[in-house]
Every structure is written in C-alpha cells, then in structure tokens.
C-alpha cells in the first residue's frame, strides 16, 4: 500500500507533456488561458465562503443594504449566535457524538476488516459480499424501520432505566447505528490483505495469536488507511443531518447541524447571526481539512478509484 500511495503521488502531478518545452520566463497564451480557467474555478468555489464570513461580521442594517464588506467587523455576532442559538451546547454534543462514533467505528471495522482479510472462516466471502451490498441502500429505506428500532418498538434495547427502553433523544441513537459501515471495512480490508504473509508467519513462530499480531504488527503499519477511515468518519458524523433531525426532538443531544437548521427556521431576517452560526459549524471541519489536506484528497482519490 505504501508503494501504491507513493506511485499515486508521483503520477498525480506529473505532467504528461514533458517533451513540450515552454520557455520559463514568458507565459504564453495557452498558459494564460489555463490559469484563467483555474482561477475562475477557484473564485466560484470560494465566493460563497467569502460571502458567509463577510455577512457574519455585518450589522443587521448592512446585511439589508448589502455591501461587500462590513464597515466595522461585528465580532459580537459570533458571541450572540453562540449563546442565543444554544450553539455552545450543540457544539459540545456534536464533539461527543463524533468522537464516540469514531471510536466505535474504528473498533468494529478494524476487527472485521482484519478477519475478512487474514482469517479463513466458513462463509467469509458471502458475509463480506452481503456487507458490501449495504452500501447501495438509500437512507430513505432504512430510516423508517431504524426510527422504530431506536424507539425500542422492535426489540428491547439496553439502556438506563429512565430512558424507558427508548434511545430517542439519547446518545446511543445518534452513535450506535453509525459505529459500523461496510465502506470502512472494505477500505481497511483492501490494505490488510496486502500485508505479506511473512509477517504473520514470523509472528506465529513467536507464539502470537491473531489479536496480538493485529495490535502489534498490523495496526502500526496501517496509519494511512486508518487516518482515511477516521477522516471519513469525522466528516460523516459531523455533517450528519437527516437522522439526527429524526431522533432529537429535544435539545439535550441535538447536534450542531440540526441546531443550525432550527436556527434557520427561527432566526428569520437576522442573516448575520445565521452566517456566524454557519461559520461556527464549519470551523472544526476546516481545521481537520487543512491539517490533513494531502491525506484527505489522496485518500478520497484512491478509494474513489477502487470503490
């Protein structure tokens, strides 16, 4: 996999037209056109974000008269959105939900992916194919039965006595359904399967079982795919909207996205607060993105091609 990653990096940015030599000092017309295309694309991609940030710093009057930039940046809008729309609570909820989901997801997918890649057991390929098939199912189909499921209408659910057998408005409803998915298992399996058998033979000679081999040898080798799974899980969980909207009728465990949506319906004409709220929801994702940018795009490129 290391090889795969490195060859991909090498090739991704190597221009095919080596033989065509542009003079380095002068930009010719083709290159100007190319840059124009790229820059206009970048402007279109960024303008909504620019619009969001500039609006979030305006006074109400400025949002109505619509200038491009606020005269004096109103940072108080952020404080107002943070407290007024209960974003402090929703933000913490989202952090807890996302972290819990990621821990659970990594646990189940690492074990399952290892098993599918390196242990021979009866019916393995059929079970794997079945799991992969779930990637096709639209959320519209699963949401209705799953809603009844987390309400405890179908099978009894474990939980605290005061939950009265239902997970509605509780943390497990927002995390447990996402603690395993076929995509993560698939991604890790593709990596684990390529680890040479010699490692396993050596580990077995030293008396290690599967679990020790997995923890001590396989995982330290798999930082790149684990990181990819983690990033995808983070985005999926942080950005989730439809399911949290269904299962959080009270603000107790309501995540940020649902909070932002309820704010949209309540804030009315106060666009500047709305935009400040949108900025707040974006910040963690942007930090993660800029920190892991390369991993991110390349992870998506490799999985995209193979998936």
């Amino acid at each position: 996999m290391d090889n795969i990653n490195s060859t991909m990096n090498d090739n991704t940015f190597k221009a095919p037209f080596k033989s065509r030599t542009f003079s380095h000092n002068r930009l010719n017309i083709t290159q100007i056109i190319l840059y124009l295309i790229l820059i206009s694309g970048a402007i279109v991609a960024v303008i909504p974000f620019f619009w969001m940030i500039s609006t979030s710093l305006m006074t109400l009057g400025e949002t109505i008269n619509r200038q491009w930039l606020p005269k004096i940046p109103q940072f108080s809008n952020y404080i107002e959105a943070w407290t007024e729309a209960k974003f402090d609570r929703y933000f913490m909820n989202s952090v807890v939900i996302t972290l819990t989901t990621i821990v659970g997801l990594l646990f189940t997918s690492i074990l399952a992916a290892y098993s599918f890649a390196r242990i021979k057991f009866f019916g393995r390929d059929i079970i794997f194919a079945l799991l992969v098939a779930t990637m096709m199912i639209p959320e519209s189909v699963t949401m209705i039965p799953n809603f009844l499921m987390v309400r405890g209408n179908i099978i009894p659910l474990p939980g605290l006595p005061e939950w009265k057998g239902s997970w509605l408005n509780q943390l497990p409803a927002l995390t447990v359904p996402f603690m395993a998915n076929a995509f993560s298992i698939f991604l890790l399996r593709q990596f684990f399967i390529k680890i040479p058998d010699e490692y396993w033979d050596a580990a077995r000679l030293d008396g290690a079982g599967h679990l020790r081999f997995l923890v001590q040898i396989v995982l330290p080798m798999s930082k790149a795919p684990l990181m990819t799974v983690l990033i995808f899980a983070f985005i999926g969980s942080w950005n989730a909207f439809l399911w949290p909207l269904l299962v959080t009728t009270k603000p107790t465990w309501r995540p940020l996205m649902v909070g932002l949506y309820t704010f949209v319906t309540e804030a009315g004409p106060e666009t500047q607060l709305l935009m400040a709220g949108a900025v707040i929801t974006l910040i963690p994702i942007l930090i993660l993105y800029f920190l892991t940018q390369k991993q991110f795009t390349e992870g998506i490129a490799t999985t995209g091609i193979k998936g």
């Binding site: 090739n11 609006t55 639209p138 519209s140 209705i144 499921m149 909207f241």
Partner: protein
C-alpha cells in the same frame, strides 16, 4: 496448516485432529472479530429492508394497523396496468436501443438500415407506451409522489453531466504544467467536505429573492431583472428565458424544472465538481506517459491526444463517477431539505424529501415505507440499466 501434511504419514489420526482443532479455532476467531460490525450492520442495514417491506403492507400510522396488502403501493402508483405499461415501455426501450447498436455490427447494409428503422419506430412506440402508462398512473395515484419522480430526474440531469464535464476540464487543466496545483486542488475540494447544511444556508442567502442578493447582483451585470430564485415555482424556461411555456401547452416533462430547482442544481454542481476533479486527477495520473509520447511522435495535436488517449482511458473513471453521482442524486436529502422554501410550492420536492414528509410530518409510516421501497427499486433498476447500456462503452485497457 499445510505443513502438517509434510509430517509422517504414520499418524493420520493425530494429524486430522490437529487440523480440525486449528480450523475450529480459526473459524471462531474469524466470527468473533466480525461479530460487532455484523450485529450493527444487520440491525441498521439489513433488517430495515425486510422490515420496511413488512411495514409497507400495513396501514401503519405511528402504530401498526390492519394488514392491507399492496394497497399502499396502489395508493402511490395508482393504476397497476399503467405501471405495467410504463415498465414494459422501458424494457422495450432497452431492447430497441440494443437493436440500434447491434445494427452497427451487421455487414449487410440493407439489413443494417432496416434494423435501424425498426429500432427507431420501436423507440417512438415505447415513448408513447411510457407516456400512456404514466398518464394513467397519474390519474389514479398519488400526484405529489409521482410528481417527485420527474423532479428527481430533473435534478439528476441538471447536476450530473455538468459536474462531470466541469470536473474533467478542471482536472485536465490542473494536470498540465501549472504552478500551485496543490493549492487549487485544495480550494476546489472545499465545497465537498464542508457540511451541506451550512453551505446550503449560505446558498439560501445567495439565491434569495432580495434585489441585492449575490445571485441578483450577478444577473444584474448581465442586464437582467432580479429574480426570485429559490422562491420561484415557475419553470425556468418562463422565469429565466422568458418563454411562456404554459401557453405552448407542452407536456409537463418538456417544460422543465422550476427556477427553484435550477437554483438548487447550481448548489449541487458547486458541491460536487471538486470531488470529481480530485478523482479525475488520480485517473489522469494512472495513464502512462508513453502513450502520449507515442502520440506526439505521430504528430497528434493536443486535442487529438485528449480525444483518442485521455478520454478512452479515463472512461472507467467517468463511468464510476457518473454512476455514483446519479445514485447520489436519488439519495440526496440534506441540502434539498434546507434549500426548499414554502414559496417554491413543492416544485423542489424530490422523492427522498417527499418520503421524509410522508413519514415525519404526515406520520404515515406504512405508506412512507412503500414509497421508499419503490425508490429503492428505481435505484436498483437505474443502476442495472446504466451498467448494461453504458458499461459496455467503458474501455478497461
């Protein structure tokens, strides 16, 4: 386990036992490791499909009611003979398409022409049958549900080709000798990773009907009157191009999507172009340099290189992206839910949104489940068709 066979053949009894014990242990470990993931995916992935079907057979509003068989489906689709006509029309359309393409292979030019003619007539016939079936479904069925299907289709057609074409252009340009590739790639990717709810909230203000909203400022530069964008239920042909489609008395499908839906399509394209660019870039990177060099030696122009080397070798990527994007539009929910406003009068309610409303607002669980199952079959069918019709054109090298 294979090395056990190398040991002395004098102790077959012992060997057999050893192999078995190892096998059992290996099997047990395998199952134990898979178990946590399997339980969760079964509970929240598999089980719901069966259960949704089960629910769809009952008059289930919040609580389970009496068994009603396929009444929920009849309520949604209206007339079963219409459904049969509709589906048969599509099946024959595929057959006609197959005839049309297979005409290429026949050597006899008379036969070739005859097959093509026959296929063309058949296609026209199919369209008539489909529209007849559709008409009788609409008369008896759930008008809003049925209307959500062409809206979904409009949304697909309005986003997928544009996304893919723009993604390809940007990737191709980025692949040339350009400074700051990583920077551009990072910027293009931004809309894809940011939460759809937040970006949709931004687009709500950009495409707002206010005179000085960003979208209206832009059309103002083109000398157009401000428009209502997301709040405009009229077809875009009327709102944007100024054609009065209602007077032309065209069938609903030819009039086109509402201006509100077109505004949402802009959002869809804006979000997914970056994703396609990144995947196309990886695809471009996997095409070997020798091919281009060989082409250049033969004196091929840049366009010829693109047309005869890049495009065919990228076709698996293009096909994959088209498939994912197309299925994605049928599943899309979050941004559509945030971007819809009451003034759009339901002209942006795609099927997934309508199902959500039936379930969450109208509390008709059984009926919503039936609609979801119908949507699921449509997705399966479209995936199959896409594989059959376009999958063949993919060049796998």
């Amino acid at each position: 386990m294979t090395e056990t066979t190398l040991y002395s053949p004098n102790a077959p009894q012992k060997k057999k036992f050893r192999v078995r014990w190892l096998d059992i242990k290996e099997n047990l470990t395998g199952y134990t490791f898979v178990l946590p993931a399997f339980i969760i995916i079964s509970m929240f992935g598999f089980f719901p499909i069966g259960y949704a079907f089960f629910m769809s057979l009952y008059n289930w509003r919040v609580r389970k009611g009496p068994f009603i068989g396929f009444d929920n489906y009849t309520k949604a689709l209206g007339d079963w003979s219409g459904v049969v006509l509709f589906i048969a029309g599509f099946i024959f359309l595929i057959v006609a398409y197959w005839l049309w393409t297979s005409a290429f292979n026949s050597k006899n030019s008379n036969l070739h022409l005859a097959t093509r003619l026959f296929a063309a007539i058949m296609m026209i016939g199919c369209f008539i049958v489909i529209s007849k079936g559709w008409g009788s479904m609409q008369e008896a069925g759930d008008k809003n549900f049925l209307a959500s299907l062409p809206i979904t289709l409009f949304y697909s057609i309005g986003t997928v080709p544009a996304e893919i074409a723009l993604g390809l252009v940007l990737a191709y340009v980025l692949f040339q000798r350009i400074n700051g590739k990583e920077f551009f790639r990072m910027i293009y990717f931004l809309p894809y990773i940011t939460p759809a709810v937040a970006t949709a909230v931004i687009f709500r203000t950009i495409f707002s009907p206010r005179e000085n909203s960003l979208a209206n400022q832009l059309v103002g530069l083109l000398g157009k009157e401000p428009m209502k964008w997301l709040f405009e239920p009229k077809p875009f042909t009327t709102a944007f191009l100024g054609i009065n489609a209602e007077q032309l008395n065209l069938p609903e499908l030819l009039i086109g999507p509402s201006m509100a839906l077109v505004s949402i399509c802009f959002f869809g394209v804006w979000t997914y172009v970056g994703y396609n660019t990144v995947i196309f870039l990886a695809g471009l990177g996997s095409i070997s340099h020798e091919l281009y060099e060989a082409g250049e030696i033969d004196g091929a122009s840049k366009w010829q290189l693109f047309r005869h080397i890049t495009l065919p070798l990228l076709s698996p990527v293009t096909f994959y992206l088209a498939l994912i994007a197309f299925i994605g539009t049928f599943k899309a929910f979050n941004h559509l839910y945030v971007l819809r406003v009451p003034s759009a009068q339901g002209t942006v309610d795609v099927t997934s949104i309508y199902i959500f409303d039936t379930f969450y607002k109208a509390n008709q669980y059984g009926y919503a489940a039936a609609q979801a199952i119908i949507l699921f079959f449509i997705i399966l069918f479209l995936t199959y068709v896409q594989n059959k019709v376009f999958g063949k054109k993919v060049f796998y090298g």
